[in-house]
Structure formats: structure tokens, C-alpha cells
Amino acid sequence: MKKNDYVNTLISIIISFLLGGIVIAIMGYNPLETFSQLFQGAFVGNFNLGCTLEKFVPLVLTALAFTVSSAVSVFNVGVEGELYLGAIAAAWVGFSVVGVSSPVHIFLCILLAMVVGALWAAIPGILKAYFKVNEVCTTILFNSVAVLITSYLVSYPLSGHLGVPQTPPIADTAKLFRILKPSRANIGLFIAIAVIIFIYWLLFHTTIGYKLRSVGLNPNFSDYIGIDSKKTMVGGMMLSGAIGGLAGAIEVMGIYGCFLDNFSIGIAFDGMLAALIAKNNILMIPVVSLFLAVLKSGSLGMERFTGVPKSLIDAIIAMFIILATMEGLFLFKKQRKLRA
């Protein structure tokens, strides 16, 4: 079943590129040259590769956050909010705490960001587990609340008084070391990779993961077997929120060096998209996230060198999503045929 998934996604990628190539040709450009510039824009040179990695890290973490909540069958559409709150928490620790060494400072920033993200996600988690409140409603609304809270904080109490809505810059000891200069890629990449490996291990090789997956697949069975399905559901949501907060912290500490009002143009929604395309399969998430990051960062170089508009890449991504999710349609038709 898993091998089939990989092959299907690969076929979807190939087909969407083919269709994209046809559209490029109709528009009067050379598809081969265009794609070559796309890949060069994504990989060739420190700056380009760095750009790709910059986009990859938040994408893969927010996708992971969504997948973790899906494991307990909760649709955490609120990762964007957790991202923002985690980011401002990290920024606050970053500029308020002084006189600590770098590893300690980074650890404290990340710790607070994850705690804040977890607590924020716990609220819709509790509402769903104990009161059956639809989590899609609560989490989407909570996004707005979180973004506005951070907007207020960054404009008044935590403002850097620099004329731009941002906090004071964080101390150098809180910044994540840059790799691949002059891009803004940083060691947040390794943190993200470590988290992916940890979550995979947690879900499939520990008693905690067993409980989370059991509750996600059948809460009745879980209660019967002695697992508190409600507590576990909230726990899963909190873990998801913590990862979202971490994503925000890495953005602040590695890329911006401060909290910037409205810095995210829907990072977490792209992450949710990646998770859905990867069918919440943890091994596929880095692959899909990398693919999306490559497309987004390569499109800048592509537009610069060939004149093909960036929005064409958005169209290719959209085609890929349709193809990748259409597989569900084929499975559905197959099941109907079998029944008949």
C-alpha cells in the first residue's frame, strides 16, 4: 500500500509538469528552458539552495504539526495561530533575556514557543474531546485571535519603537546560525529533521504513539482497553501545537531576527496542504514539502530569466494537488465496481 502511494505521487508530479509544459509552450515560451531555469533557481548556487531550504523548514514542520493532530483524528487548522504565538514567545525571550550562552538562550526561546503553542492548541482540543465542539470551526477562528493578539503585542507592549511593527531585535545569542550564506537558511533545518525523526519514532515505537494512534482510529476501543481517549486527544493536539510553535520560533530566530507583524502569508496552510497531499504519511511529508519548496523558490529564478510568470507555478502546484487527491476518486470508483 505504501509503495503504491509513492508511485502515485511520482506519477502526479510527472503529469502536472507535462501539463505545465504544454501550457508554457502554448504561451510561446520554451518549456525545457523554463524548467531548467526553475530547477537552477531552486538548487544552483548557495543563495538559491538556501532559499529552497528557507521555505522547506516551516513547510515541513507545519505539515508535521497537522499530521500529528490527524493521528488523534483532530483537524488542527489552527497551526497558523500556534506559529504566530510561538514566534512572538520566542522573540520575547530572545530580546528580554540577557547574559546567557547561546545554546541555553536558543533552548529557552524554543521551549517557551513550544509551551505557548501547546497551550493554545489545548483549548480547541479540550473543546472537541470533552464537548464535541467541531475543531475546524474553533481552530480557524483561533487563528484570527492569535494573529490579532500578536499584532497588539508587537504594536504596543513588545514594540521595538522602530516605526515598523516589529519587536526589538533578538540578542545574538538567540539567533540560529546561518548556513549557505548569503541566503537566510539556518540550522533550524537540522532541528526540523531531528523533530521529524523524533515524531516518527514516537508514533510507531513507543507506548505513547500506540495510545495516540489507537484513539485516532477508534476512541471506543481505546476507552474499553483502558486508554483515556479524551485525555489522549488533548495530548495529541498539544503536541501538534508545540510543533507549530517551534516552526514560528525558527522563523524568528533564524530568518527575521525579530517578530515581524504578519510575517506569515499562510505558511501553515501550505503545510496543511503538504500533509494532506502526503496523506499524513510521515515519510512522505519531507518529500512533498521539498517538492513544494523547490517549486516556490525556483519560480523566482524562472521568472527572472525566462519571463514566464510566477503564477504559472501556482497553476502547476494546483494541478498537482488535483491529480494527487484525485486518486481518492479512483479508489472510490474501484470500491463501487467491486461491490457491484
Binding site: T207, S214, N218, N220, S222, Y224, I225
Partner: protein, 219 residues
């Protein structure tokens, strides 16, 4: 516990196993009250439970056979240390259980929803019986199960009895009750209409009680 479906047997079993809150009355097990304890605590006192609904409650259908079989023991040594699962030991345990209880499956890593009704029920029976608990509550254990598996499961429950455990069998199948039980209580509309010993029990006697009548006294 004999009785036509829907006379309160299910609710009784749920309250005995911590799956339904109790408003009035008490349950004493081994001298202690287990009223309104969590299902986990009740299991720890030595009660195993084969539930009536194997698909909704007894099994996690999307989990593999192995994951279902280890559901009671995954927290304990040697199957886990701290929070790490010891997958090779779990695999051994599951394979041993399939052999011992004659569960027909192509492997332990296939999802349990692909098993036939009889085999799926045997997974539940295997898991609960292997705990060697002092009390097993078996609710409609052979419902919707093929003839071969019915025999298997009844054999297993008899073995459990011989080893000294207590079996509370809840069934709407009179033949099953009569062939397995030592003492039979009949439920009708939430009340126990009478308790009959196996020697006195006949289909007529039980049938009368099950429909709300009184047992015929033997002269």
C-alpha cells in the same frame, strides 16, 4: 446471564467494566467496591471483558492483528521499557497467540478488518483469555461467528473455567447458556427474574423467565 437482547444485559456489563457510570447501587469484587472506577483500574483488579460489539468496541479495525493482540499488555514489561515498545517481543507474543488460539490469518501485520467474523472474535477471545484474569465477562461471544469458531470459543471458555477462573457469560442463545453454565440468572426488563442452577434449568423454565413469567417449581 440469559435474556432476550435489550433487557439491560449490555448496560449491566458496561457498568461492571467501567464503561458506563452507575447512579445507584454498588459492585463488590474480591471484597472491594469497583463502582465507577475507570476501565483501566477495573482491568487491573483482575477482570477481562469480551464485549458484545466486536467492531466498534472489541477491536480497532484499522490496527493490525499484532496491535490488537498486544492491546492489554503493551504497557507492561517485557513488551515495553519506559515508553519504548519492544517490537520483536511483541511480534513473538502475537505469533504465539495466533497458533495457540487457531486464528486463521496470513500474518500478524494485516489489518484486523480483513479477518472473517469468527477469526476476528478469536482475536478478542485470545487477547482477553491470555490475561489469565480471575473473572472474564463474555458478552455474546459467539454471535455472528461461523460454526467452527463457535466450537473453538466455547472450548476455550470451558478451559478457562477448569483453570479456576470465573466466567460471566451473557448470551441470548439458550443452547449456549445451557451447555456451558453452572448457574443461570435471567434478565427481563432490567431486573433479575430468577437464578436457576444448571440441573434445574430447562429451555421451558428459562424461556418463561426470559419473557417475564415465573419458573416452574420442581416437585
Amino acid at each position: 446471564m440469559a435474556g432476550v437482547d435489550g433487557n439491560g444485559q449490555n448496560e449491566l456489563v458496561e457498568s461492571l467494566t467501567g464503561l458506563r457510570p452507575i447512579e445507584k447501587g454498588d459492585i463488590i469484587f474480591k471484597g472491594h467496591s469497583i463502582r465507577n472506577l475507570s476501565s483501566l483500574k477495573i482491568r487491573k483488579t483482575g477482570i477481562a471483558h469480551i464485549p458484545e460489539d466486536r467492531n466498534k468496541t472489541g477491536l480497532n479495525n484499522k490496527f493490525t492483528i499484532k496491535e490488537n493482540l498486544i492491546a492489554n499488555l503493551y504497557r507492561k514489561k517485557p513488551y515495553s521499557k519506559w515508553i519504548c515498545l519492544k517490537n520483536s517481543l511483541i511480534k513473538e507474543y502475537a505469533e504465539g497467540l495466533i497458533k495457540k488460539f487457531d486464528i486463521r490469518a496470513s500474518g500478524i501485520d494485516i489489518p484486523v478488518e480483513s479477518l472473517s467474523g469468527g477469526n476476528a472474535q478469536k482475536v478478542i477471545v485470545a487477547r482477553e483469555v491470555d490475561l489469565n484474569s480471575e473473572l472474564i465477562i463474555a458478552s455474546q461471544p459467539t454471535r455472528g461467528v461461523d460454526v467452527g469458531s463457535i466450537e473453538s470459543i466455547r472450548e476455550i471458555l470451558n478451559e478457562v473455567k477448569k483453570k479456576g477462573a470465573v466466567v460471566l457469560l451473557v448470551s441470548a442463545d439458550l443452547e449456549e447458556i445451557l451447555s456451558l453454565s453452572d448457574r443461570i440468572a435471567v434478565m427481563y426488563e432490567g431486573k433479575i427474574m430468577g437464578i436457576v442452577s444448571a440441573s434445574e434449568a430447562t429451555e421451558l423454565n428459562l424461556g418463561l423467565l426470559m419473557t417475564g413469567g415465573k419458573a416452574i417449581e420442581k416437585e
